[in-house]
């Protein structure tokens, strides 16, 4: 049977796609869209309201002062302050400028899109149904196994990155402009007599700020205070929150739409290369790499990517785990966003490290499951 692009008439524009291919694409596309859209809305509503209503100093006030506990807590902050990977970069950029150590900020940046209740819920729902055998008469639901594995591995990777980064000088990690901005705040050359409040400095531990709610003007200060201000337009903050939520929905929805369109083309065998991708699925070493590359290209939101991973039915759960952990930590759009905070050289090393480590753990995870199921 002729399928997909094989059935295109050469030299015609727009391409003459066969009715079967249209039908298949539309059915798969809509089914994934219907499944994921409510979760995107939930995530963007929460992030929109956090964006407007959450005082900027909240997050760093929650962190311990000692370095390692601070990194551990930073890896879990997404559980109470859920932010997707698109929204997290501006947040950590602001926090780093306010004195949050880079190790804590990067740990939060990598973990928050995965270790949060919305991602956990969507992963649970996406994998609901099948059982994964763990030996004779023992099996657990794929929902439980995949959700726990995803959150656990995401947390582990983020904390490891935080621990490694804590040993690297800030100037080798951050963009020069950001470093200059921080050093300027640490060694203020300007007169603070007009400011009259506490400033944010780097502590040995986590370096959170200690801002308080107070009203004042900004004459002569010229830097970010990181606490709640009252500008007399509070009545309109609900409008701002809804606008922020709509912006987030559109931002995420664009990548989600492109992602599910590509996934639907592969899912139904229409896309060129679909059979090649399928041929990689059973190769335990190559399959996780292939899905990590796919996650990088698709640039999906962590709140909805599980629905796409679940439809990649030719692939093992191990490869899907690699897709679900690597994607929220590094993809095309994040590559650009990270450059607003990090040096390109560090991003390259980070990408390489994430790819190798997540791939290796996923392969080992799949091998362990297989050996338990087939003793």
């Amino acid at each position: 049977m002729r399928r997909g692009f094989d059935s295109l008439s050469p030299g015609t524009f727009p391409p003459d796609v066969s009715p079967d291919s249209r039908q298949d694409f539309a059915f798969a596309f809509l089914s994934i869209l219907f499944e994921g859209a409510p979760f995107i809305l939930l995530g963007t509503l929460i992030s929109g309201f956090i964006d407007i209503y959450l005082p900027a100093g909240t997050m760093d006030r929650l962190l311990p002062r000692r370095k390692f506990p601070a990194i551990l807590v930073a890896g879990l902050l997404g559980a109470i302050l859920p932010v997707c990977e698109c929204a997290v970069v501006p947040v950590i950029r602001r926090l780093v400028k306010k004195g949050l150590p880079v190790s804590c900020a990067l740990t939060y940046m990598l973990a928050a899109p995965i270790v949060n209740p919305i991602t956990a819920l969507s992963t649970w729902k996406a994998f609901k149904g099948p059982e994964i055998p763990f030996g004779e008469g023992v099996s657990y639901s794929a929902s439980l196994v995949m959700t726990a594995s995803r959150l656990g591995l995401g947390f582990l990777v983020a904390v490891l990155v935080g621990v490694v980064v804590a040993r690297i000088p800030m100037v080798k990690l951050l963009r020069q402009r950001l470093v200059d901005s921080i050093q300027k705040d640490d060694n203020p050359g300007h007169d603070h007599k007009d400011c009259g409040h506490d400033h944010h400095h780097h502590h040995e531990g986590c370096g959170h700020d200690h801002g308080h709610d107070h009203d004042h003007d900004h004459k002569g200060c010229g830097h970010d205070h990181g606490h709640h201000h009252h500008h007399g337009k509070d009545d309109n903050r609900l409008i701002a929150a809804f606008r922020s939520a709509m912006r987030d929905f559109v931002d995420v929805g664009v990548y989600f739409t492109i992602g599910i369109a590509i996934t639907a083309l592969f899912n139904t065998g229409i896309a060129p290369g679909a059979e090649w991708l399928d041929s990689l699925a059973k190769n335990n070493l190559v399959a996780p790499a292939a899905l990590m590359a796919l996650a990088f290209v698709l640039s999906l939101c962590s709140t909805s990517d599980a629905f796409i991973a679940a439809t990649l039915d030719k692939f093992t759960y191990g490869a899907k785990l690699a897709f679900l952990v690597f994607g929220p930590m590094l993809d095309v759009k994040l590559l650009f966003l990270y450059q607003t905070v990090l040096k390109k050289r560090f991003i390259l090393w980070l990408a390489l490290g994430l790819f190798v480590f997540i791939g290796a753990v996923s392969i080992a995870w799949q091998a362990a499951i297989f050996s338990l199921a087939n003793p």
Binding site: D20, A26, L30, A37, K97, P130, R237, M246, V254
Partner: protein, 272 residues
């Protein structure tokens, strides 16, 4: 782009998404796309999108403050996007509208073939899929599969399919007179001209993750002259011969009749 125009465009995009979600839920077409657990979420998501869309549309011209300062180098605002607003608007709407226009609420034969319709039923009885099915025992069979008026035990097609992968079940169910239903389709690899496939879709969450689950059916005399994908109720004797590819479920048909389509496809936790 003018911020007010951008808000109006995005509000319209959200309202369109809301309309599609609510329409598919309200008309019941959603049953073709999603497992039962997910359907109420579609309605809730549609209503939520409608609220956000309408709110932003009605307040598009109003001034609003986010209430916090952004610092000297922090250029972020709460409405800018990674992509051009008009491009975002088109990306949100064009594929959705094309999908709604093209969908027939089902996969074509080509896509079903990719999803396992023409795979050997012996291969398809995978451990993971089978582990999701309830364990069958003789007591359970007698309790859950009462005989119909003609003396045939009523079986779900998926039970017959998965029983082929279990030696005990093959022993237990093989030779039993059964009744089952599914969609009939021609079998291009049939060794005999009276052979067809009877299948249902096996869906865990959404149609995109569905698998076609087929068994072999062999008619004793004439094959009913029905179109591919016609829903039929078949009665006959189930056997599990090994014809070189492993044990496969084969129904030797005594009687066949067209049947009305069930209200929805098969799902992992019900209707199998």
């Amino acid at each position: 782009m003018n911020p007010k125009l951008q808000r109006v465009l995005f509000s319209l995009a959200l309202l369109t998404w809301a309309g599609v979600l609510i329409y598919f839920y309200a008309t019941g077409r959603i049953a073709k796309y999603l497992a039962p657990d997910f359907r109420p979420l579609v309605m809730a998501g549609g209503l939520g999108l409608a609220v956000v869309g309408f709110f932003n549309l009605l307040t598009a011209t109003q001034e609003a403050s986010c209430g916090h300062d952004h610092g000297p180098d922090d250029t972020h605002d709460h409405e800018s996007l990674d992509v051009h607003p008009l491009a975002a608007f088109l990306i949100l709407l064009v594929p959705l509208c094309v999908g709604v226009a093209w969908t027939k609420d089902a996969f074509s034969l080509g896509s079903l073939t990719r999803k396992g319709l023409m795979d050997t039923p012996a291969d398809a009885s995978s451990l993971i899929l089978g582990a999701g099915m309830p364990q069958l025992t003789k007591e359970l069979i007698e309790k859950q599969h009462p005989k119909n008026a003609d003396g045939y035990h009523s079986f779900g097609l998926m039970e017959l399919f998965f029983s082929a992968g279990d030696p005990e079940m093959r022993e237990l169910v093989g030779g039993m007179q059964v009744e089952t239903e599914g969609r009939v389709i021609k079998d291009p690899d049939a060794p005999v001209p009276t052979q067809r496939r009877l299948y249902r879709l096996f869906i865990t969450c959404c149609a995109a993750d569905s698998r076609a689950i087929p068994i072999i059916v062999r008619f004793k005399d004439e094959v009913p002259q029905v179109a591919d994908n016609t829903w039929m109720k078949l009665t006959g004797t189930i056997r599990y011969p090994d014809e070189g590819e492993g044990f496969i479920p084969v129904l030797e048909v005594d009687h066949a009749a067209e049947a009305p389509p069930p209200p929805e496809e098969s799902f992992m936790r019900s209707n199998f």
